[in-house]
């Protein structure tokens, strides 16, 4: 399995995407911002297709759109937590734009590139080039580094925004930066599991970790571990059974972990 270059690329990129998603996802669940993550995943779709329709690098559109989307969502919301209805209306429109770009792209573009839409929606982790892998490793490391710096005040601001603000923590700014970070990770995960499925990697491992423990560091570790495990198991399954698409297998494993954690655990919940 490891002799194949596409498999090695998938495993390396997938691992880094998994760790980044697990760590960022833990905060996303803690801050009850899963819906914002959902919205960002659809922004990713529109960004990628806008780039495709304009004929520029898809990655550029992807990252620009999600990071911008995250910051806009943060700016719109009170205390950098956008209202569900605002998020909903915004991204319903974003999707409509995405459909427009898709139509422009498929009617103008060459037939050979006609599956770009599917690749953006459902990912193509087996099709990653060495450059893609390098980019995703660098970005994952950057995301984790930002999170490490931001971690303590972010945790404080998430648990008790009012007290944190009173202590001089820049709650609003932190919320903005965090949503930008979620955008970055979402764009990265789009390349691996696709815009429609990346929510699974953000929400399921983190949800499982939150079910099992209330302690932050343990939870973060578990979340990253679960996401990493999902990627590895999913890729292996998909390699062994070639009819099963890798993104589905990764998300199914993550969902399986979540269900298991849920059934295992009326343990305790300190964080909430």
């Amino acid at each position: 399995m490891l002799a194949q270059e596409f498999m090695r690329n998938a495993l390396i990129a997938g691992s880094f995407v998994g760790i980044a998603c697990g760590l960022v996802g833990w905060f996303v669940v803690l801050r009850a911002q899963v819906f914002a993550g959902d919205a960002l995943s659809h922004v990713a779709f529109t960004g990628a297709l806008a780039a495709a329709a304009l004929g520029i690098d898809i990655r550029a559109g992807l990252f620009l759109a999600t990071i911008l989307g995250g910051v806009v969502m943060g700016a719109l919301g009170d205390r950098a937590r956008a209202d569900d209805v605002v998020i909903g209306t915004l991204f319903a429109w974003t999707l409509g734009l995405g459909v427009l770009f898709l139509t422009i792209f498929t009617t103008n573009g060459s037939g050979s590139n006609g599956t770009a839409g599917v690749r953006v929606l459902f990912g193509s982790i087996f099709g990653l080039s060495t450059t893609d892998v390098r980019i995703s490793v660098v970005l994952a490391v950057a995301a984790v580094a930002v999170l490490a710096v931001l971690g303590r005040p972010l945790l404080f601001a998430s648990l008790d925004g009012a007290v944190a603000a009173a202590q001089g923590v820049p709650v609003r700014m932190i919320g903005l930066v965090f949503l930008g970070l979620v955008g970055l990770v979402a764009a990265q995960a789009t390349q691996a599991v696709g815009a429609l499925l990346l929510l699974g990697l953000l929400a399921a491992p983190a949800g499982a970790a939150h079910r099992l423990t209330g302690r932050p560091y343990l939870g973060l570790g578990l979340s990253a571990l679960f996401a990493l495990g999902s990627v590895w198991v999913g890729l292996t399954l998909s390699y062994v059974f070639p009819t099963l698409p890798p993104s589905t297998m990764i998300i199914s494993t993550a969902a399986g972990i979540y269900v298991t954690a849920r059934s295992l655990s009326p343990l305790r919940r300190l964080v909430g």
């Binding site: 819906f35 209805v85 037939g111 006609g114 459902f122 499925l197 699974g200 399921a204 009819t243």
Partner: protein, 297 residues
């Protein structure tokens, strides 16, 4: 697999439309409106759009009131899973829509539970959504890529709606609206203040489950026109606009329905006279109205 998924049926019909039927705007509004009603496919599309818009306006208003946009969005995406499962199994797509959306509603209700904590509940919803979409993609893959019109499952098509489909839409919409109308008072009570409602004997939990099922029903129906990805635009945006403009329940529901009807009709007409998809027009028009409402109210 070349471009087989994306150069799928709707696009072909679109080009056919451009060459044989499509005449463009004639600068004579009467002729243009007349042209809209001339062809049976357009009559069916307008009828189906009207039914769907009325239902989405009513159900969406309650959805926005109950802050269940995330659940609604998740349900709308399970519609894609239902459709692809039905195509794979060789059963009518409508059956897939309704079965899987019903199951999705039950799963969401089960995930929320009696003691709700926002973060973990949304994590559950997110996991359900991604899993459902993953399954949908699996079904599409197992079908070996000859599934024509993956894009119409996701983004909808208003072409090729038959009169029997319109009839099914009408029956389902009538059932959904009747159910909401019967439960309207307690549902409103339970949505606005669940604790007080529970204390005065309203069965909040049961109502919540029932509402999710009706939401699933209407999402399954709407996605046949707008596609699984764009249901949301009709459900959430007109309702959100209406709630910006008025807080009175009855006026709000009526306004929400009116807005949904307006954007659907305009969207269909614009899509008829251009090559761009109906979903784009409906989402953009409703978003523009929402922005206007936010600016001036």
């Amino acid at each position: 697999m070349g471009g087989s998924w994306w150069s799928a049926r709707p696009t072909c019909t679109g080009t056919m439309l451009t060459s044989s039927v499509f005449t463009g705007l004639s600068w004579n509004p009467v002729d243009d409106v007349h042209a809209l009603f001339t062809y049976p496919f357009m009559q069916h599309a307008l009828a189906a759009g009207t039914i769907v818009a009325v239902m989405a306006g009513v159900i969406g208003w309650f959805m926005v009131l109950r802050r269940q946009t995330f659940a609604g969005h998740t349900l709308s995406l399970t519609a894609f899973t239902g459709a692809s499962a039905a195509v794979l199994a060789g059963v009518p797509i409508v059956l897939g829509y309704f079965t899987v959306c019903g199951l999705g509603a039950l799963a969401l209700a089960g995930a929320s539970g009696p003691r709700r904590s926002q973060g973990t509940e949304s994590a559950a919803t997110g996991s359900i959504q991604a899993f459902a979409l993953g399954l949908g993609f699996l079904f599409v893959s197992l079908y070996h890529g000859v599934l024509n019109g993956l894009d119409s499952l996701l983004f909808g098509t208003f072409l090729g709606i038959t009169s029997s489909q319109v009839f099914v839409l009408l029956v389902v919409a009538a059932i959904a609206i009747a159910l909401v109308a019967v439960a309207a008072r307690p549902l409103l009570f339970a949505s606005v203040d669940p604790d007080v409602a529970r204390a005065s004997g309203v069965r909040v939990q049961l109502l919540g489950l029932g509402f999710l099922l009706v939401l699933g029903l209407s999402v399954a129906e709407t996605s046949q026109i707008t596609g699984a990805l764009l249901v949301f635009a009709l459900l959430v945006t007109p309702a959100a606009t209406a709630q910006r403009l008025t807080t009175r329940p009855l006026a709000g529901v009526v306004l929400s329905v009116a807005l949904a009807l307006l954007v659907t009709w305009l969207g269909l007409a614009l899509a008829y006279f251009s090559v761009y998809p109906v979903g784009f027009y409906i989402t953009s028009l409703s978003f523009a109205l929402y922005v206007l409402a936010r600016m001036f109210a």
